[in-house]
């Protein structure tokens, strides 16, 4: 790789422009005159870490390795490397899975072996793009008979083709502040309650087109009122003064500055609050209609991974009870298996809904974009 790059630079007259300093030129695969070693080696553009059979490149979203509170990334890497004779390298593009989808469509190779942190919507997006550009084969490989999948909790598996394997789950619910209205405030029990006049202007939600929690909450209303009725429900919500902000951060910081007593968030909210010794009265969790919308997170192996064996071992490793407990605590989520050895007080702060609800892959496919578009047009039309 270095050799060819040097050759090119010399050939191009090196001096060219200052721009070249940040440039690379790689021979293309399909050329007949490319050097023998060029095609097989993945292009080292992002991490700069040496690549070999014993390196596993794990792609994930940035907070998984780099959250200000806790994140499982560093611990996972340490645990994995101490047991397997391999190096775990993280890649955390800000555009998340879209980064790899784009590369696949443009026909650019990438190093990542496994993607960690996939949800149903992303999987549908990835499948929907197959056939575009250079993305002819499926992006992800089937997981096969992975050790540990028999322990997975029922209802979490969201990929009908068994490529994505869930490793944790969260529930989107309301979080509310019992100290508001001089300590009189209590969140409603039902979706209908949210449209009552006494809760006017009391809810902050997120934009379904840009925030995962916003999308989950919208999908929950679709679940509740059906594809034909949820927009009318949102009309009533809007008449009752719901605020829809751009991201979970926007909404949560507005909630924390007590703009409104309720916010759409996660049912694990008290885990952080307890950790920070905050007033738990300000972090009450409400499951509307006794339901919480489940958002399982999955992992999947890229079909053209150079280290499929190691990738499989990693995925099995992720499902082990003690690793599951470690991820759950550090990612503040629920494990994907039943018997993860979590500390006693974890369940005290991490609330599970009496009835988890979610849409399956098949129910979402072809619908989720349409629902979101309809929602956006109805809501922004005001």
């Amino acid at each position: 790789m270095n050799r060819t790059r040097r050759e090119f630079l010399t050939a191009a007259g090196a001096g060219g422009t200052a721009l070249l300093a940040g440039c690379q030129a790689e021979p293309l695969d399909e050329g007949t005159d490319t050097p023998a070693d060029a095609g097989t080696e993945p292009t080292g553009t992002t991490t700069g870490t040496p690549e070999g059979a014993d390196t596993l490149v794990v792609a994930t979203y940035p907070p998984f390795v780099d959250a200000p509170s806790t994140s499982p990334g560093a611990w996972l890497k340490e645990e994995f490397e101490s047991e397997f004779d391999a190096t775990l390298v993280y890649q955390t593009p800000d555009s998340e899975l879209n980064y790899y989808l784009e590369r696949a469509i443009q026909g650019v190779e990438f190093e990542a072996d496994v993607y960690v942190g996939l949800d149903t919507g992303q999987l549908i997006d990835a499948d929907g793009r197959q056939g575009e550009g250079e993305l002819t084969d499926p992006l992800f490989a089937e997981a096969g008979d992975l050790e540990g999948t028999d322990r997975l909790r029922e209802g979490l598996q969201f990929d009908p083709r068994n490529r994505a394997v869930p490793f944790d789950t969260g529930y989107v619910s309301l979080v509310w502040n019992a100290t508001m209205d001089d300590g009189e405030f209590a969140a409603p029990e039902t979706f209908e309650g949210l449209t009552e006049p006494e809760y006017e202007g009391d809810l902050i939600a997120q934009n379904p087109t840009s925030a995962a929690t916003g999308e989950a909450f919208m999908l929950h209303t679709v679940k509740q009122y059906g594809p034909d009725g949820f927009l009318d429900y949102w009309d009533r919500l809007r008449e009752n003064g719901v605020t829809v902000l751009g991201s979970w951060t926007d909404a949560y910081s507005a909630y924390e500055s007590e703009e409104a007593p309720m916010v759409v968030s996660y049912s694990t909210d008290q885990v952080y609050a307890a950790m920070e010794d905050q007033d738990l009265q300000k972090h009450q969790v409400r499951f509307l209609n006794d339901q919480g919308y489940a958002n399982p997170e999955g992992m999947a192996r890229f079909a053209d991974s150079d280290a499929p064996g190691l990738a499989e071992e990693f995925m099995s490793f992720m499902l082990r009870p003690e690793v599951q407990a470690g991820i759950a605590q550090r990612n503040v989520a629920f494990p994907a298996i039943d018997d993860a050895p979590l500390p006693e007080d974890y369940s005290q702060y991490a609330m599970e809904p009496p009835e988890p609800v979610t849409f399956t892959y098949d129910e979402l496919q072809g619908n989720v974009d349409e629902w979101t578009d309809q929602w956006a047009r109805r809501f922004a039309g005001g």
Partner: protein, 584 residues
């Protein structure tokens, strides 16, 4: 003409007589390099995205574009509302920014220079920090309401609302109006005002006829830029107004996120067309406004505070009125600018109302023991400074040479000028996506795939985004310069570059320094291109670190925001001091 320009010129010219080819060819070379850089880092990448608006399955159908333009929802609701809020934001920014220029250019007081430098600070604050500051200042339980409550006044429900969006837009853009107008005001020739006065004009008449025409291009430039920026606004709208007030850029972003590039491209094309048209209209106006100027002696500034407070003669009615106006304006500035910034700093120092240094301890801990794949504060600071400095080095010559080029008279000049201004007018999301597809993923040619990423590409991208500010700050001044000055320098044997360096630049120096401050600010505040070109690498900057440190606790992100604030504020002061030194 009491300045020793002539002597210095002759001295330097005689030295410059032996200059080589490089100096004689420097301007054309710079112009060509600028053009190449623009094509590689802007036009080509953006084209790869926008082409989706007009092409379907390999054929040019204009389908997606037509779809957007015939959709009432988009045309009326989205574009209509976007233009409306941009218009209101522009009005607010000009109203808030102009008095600032008046104070900074007409009064002398301690710390004036520093204050002028600090006007650029709001420009670099990440939107998420501004949102945090706004909620803490103007929110239901914010400082403003506490203040009103303490005074026994009615509490205000200001957030979220259209009003909040507009005030936040003014927070970002009023400093810009202040900045460019101050530069113009400081270049107004005192001699011209004196001549008008000696011909019998009253002070207000002289102001109207002499000063206003010279300020107007700057004010309108500030207004145009504000409109263009707020037209493409997106995170502020969603954070402080909510989806009810969604703008075009919000829809572009959600289309990109749903990988619906045709729709995103179509929306972005219309958006860019509006912004570019407006820019071109302004440029035409700027051309017509050019008034020739000779060597400029700036207007003398008035002391803001009298030397002796007890001196009764110092307090005429006019004086009193103007000082009261300054005091009133200072009050507004405290609420609108200082309020959110102080609130952000305060948020970094408190948890649940109690004072704590936890957030800064987090930064220290992350610096000392953070893993290699985690973002650390110190490299972020150093990278930001290095990129900022490198951007200055690249963008200043680019901007000045484009400024000289576009102030020459030739056919299609407005077109060239508008095209060179395009980086200001195109949606950040589109530029980002274009960089990703066109540069990071690369271009195939001659059996090779050419890709660009890393520090050099980041600096180049920052320079492309920043240089239009340099052009816009120096170009009106260059345009207005007396041609004969350059011509006499040339006839004395100076090369074009020599004439530029020794004659023109010293005369438009306030504009150059203002442009430099803008260029630095653009580089420090830039986010999209930086994360895309640095994807996964270790060349992250301060705003990237702020973004990474956002979580359920505000502390770490606001602490990093405070670091960003301190570092950039110090940098601006240094830039102005060094820049001011050159002028002598």
């Amino acid at each position: 003409m009491d300045r020793p320009v002539g002597a210095a010129l002759r001295r330097r010219v005689s030295r410059a007589g032996r200059t080589g080819v490089l100096e004689r060819r420097a301007l054309p070379l710079l112009a060509v390099a600028t053009a190449l850089l623009l094509v590689a880092l802007f036009y080509y990448p953006v084209a790869t995205v926008l082409v989706e608006a007009v092409r379907e399955e390999g054929r040019f159908t204009f389908g997606p574009l037509v779809e957007v333009l015939t959709d009432e929802f988009y045309v009326v609701r989205v574009f209509g509302f976007t233009a409306w809020q941009a218009f209101l934001s522009t009005l607010a920014s000009v109203a808030l920014g102009l008095p600032g220029a008046w104070v900074l250019s007409r009064f002398e007081f301690r710390g004036r220079e520093t204050l002028k430098s600090l006007t650029m600070v709001p420009f670099v604050l990440p939107s998420v920090m501004v949102a945090v500051g706004f909620y803490a200042t103007f929110g239901a339980g914010g400082t403003l309401n506490d203040l009103l409550g303490a005074l026994g006044l009615r509490r205000l429900d200001l957030l979220p609302s259209l009003g909040a969006i507009i005030v936040a837009h003014a927070f970002y853009n009023a400093p810009l109006v202040t900045r460019v107008t101050t530069a113009a005001w400081e270049s107004v020739d005192a001699g011209a005002v004196e001549t008008a006065r000696s011909l019998g004009a009253s002070p207000s008449r002289a102001f109207r006829d002499v000063v206003v025409p010279q300020l107007l291009p700057a004010v309108l430039m500030g207004a145009t830029l504000t409109f263009v920026f707020t037209f493409a606004s997106f995170p502020i709208v969603l954070a402080l107004g909510g989806f009810e007030y969604a703008t075009v850029e919000v829809f572009v972003y959600s289309a990109v996120r749903q990988l619906d590039y045709a729709e995103a491209a179509a929306l972005a094309t219309v958006e860019s067309a509006v912004s570019l048209t407006l820019t071109a209209v302004y440029l035409r106006y700027e051309r017509e406004q050019t008034a020739e100027r000779r060597d400029v002696r700036p207007l003398a500034r008035e002391r803001l505070l009298p030397e002796r407070w007890t001196d009764a003669t110092a307090w005429t009615r006019d004086r009193l009125a103007s000082r009261l106006a300054v005091a009133g304006y200072a009050g507004v500035v405290l609420v609108v600018f200082l309020g959110p910034i102080v609130s952000m700093v305060y948020a970094s120092l408190t948890v649940d109302g109690g004072f704590t240094l936890d957030a800064y301890r987090f930064l220290l801990r992350r610096q000392v023991s953070g893993a290699a794949f985690q973002v650390r504060p110190l490299p972020a600071v150093l990278n930001s400074l290095a990129f900022g400095a490198a951007t200055l080095v690249v963008a200043l010559p680019m901007g000045v040479s484009m400024g000289v080029l576009t102030t020459r008279r030739f056919r299609g000049r407005v077109l060239v000028d508008a095209l060179s201004m395009a980086p200001l007018a195109v949606s950040g999301i589109v530029v980002g996506l274009g960089l990703l597809r066109g540069l990071v993923f690369g271009v195939e040619a001659f059996g090779y795939r050419f890709t660009a990423s890393g520090p050099a590409a980041i600096v180049a991208a920052h320079a492309v985004a920043a240089y239009p500010f340099v052009v816009r700050n120096v170009s009106p001044g260059l345009d207005g310069l007396d041609r004969t000055l350059v011509e006499s320098a040339r006839s004395l044997g100076a090369s074009r570059v020599r004439a530029l360096l020794d004659v023109e630049l010293p005369l438009v120096w306030p504009g150059v320094v203002a442009g430099a401050a803008f260029a630095f600010a653009i580089s420090v505040g830039e986010f999209d291109a930086t994360v895309i070109l640095a994807e996964g690498g270790d060349v992250y900057t301060m705003p990237v670190a702020v973004e990474r440190f956002i979580g359920r606790r505000l502390g770490p992100a606001t602490a990093m925001g405070t670091v960003l604030l301190a570092v950039t504020a110090a940098s601006f002061v240094v830039i102005e001091r060094v820049g001011g030194g050159f002028r002598g």
